[in-house]
Amino acid sequence: MIRITVTSVFVDDQSAALDFYTRVLGFEVKNDIPLGGDDRWLTVVSPAAPDGVELLLEPSGHPAVGPYKAALVEDGIPATSFGVDDIQAEFERLTALGVRFVQPPTDMGPVVVATLDDTCGNLIQIAQMKG
């Protein structure tokens, strides 16, 4: 059986990303392995699933990454999506920490979604499934 074990987002600065994804969003470091140069194999997991899917905070060094990320951000397209239990509470908690939301919690039928800026060149969607 094939499984999803790692997924990734390109981050402008891995150290800044580590701070944002752990201290602000609330993930925990799973792997932090030097790769040569300043690049690291840096992954985080949710405290709710420490052995679950790892999110790789991937360096943005490749020249194609900058234009790709800029085009997605301009059109408001999230790089990925995370699940939350209470989106209104997360919106208020993260806003209090200074996080910029480009879309506040919005009812989209079966799901309520919001979109935030991860300060590392990406928009991230958070989603709460209803009922």
Binding site: V73, D75, G76, I77, V102, Q103, T106, T115
Partner: protein, 96 residues
């Protein structure tokens, strides 16, 4: 007048875009696409929605604001004033 506000309004998807901007002003293309799909059952492609927005921009019903790396769409109902000027609505006293 080069741009025709009537033609711009004569499309259900473009009217839905205006409805959603009325609900919340200042949306990204992605948010508008999501709302059209999830709230109106309109499966328009991103390219199609982008073209609809261009038509609305041409007649001034939508304005685009760039803020840093973001691009937001705003509703401007100003061009609709010409409709009420051309065909005035009788005052009914109490609001309907």
């Amino acid at each position: 007048m080069a741009a025709d506000v009537y033609k711009a309004l004569a499309d259900a998807t473009r009217r839905a875009i205006l409805d959603e901007l009325q609900d919340r002003d200042g949306q990204s293309l992605f948010e508008l696409c999501t709302r059209l799909t999830m709230r109106h059952g309109l499966g328009s492609t991103r390219q199609a929605v982008s073209q609809h927005l261009e038509v609305l921009e041409e007649v001034g019903l939508v304005t685009v604001r760039r803020e840093g790396r973001y691009k937001f769409h705003h509703l401007d109902t100003g061009p609709l004033r010409q409709i009420a000027t051309r065909w005035p609505v009788p005052d009914q006293g109490e609001s309907p």
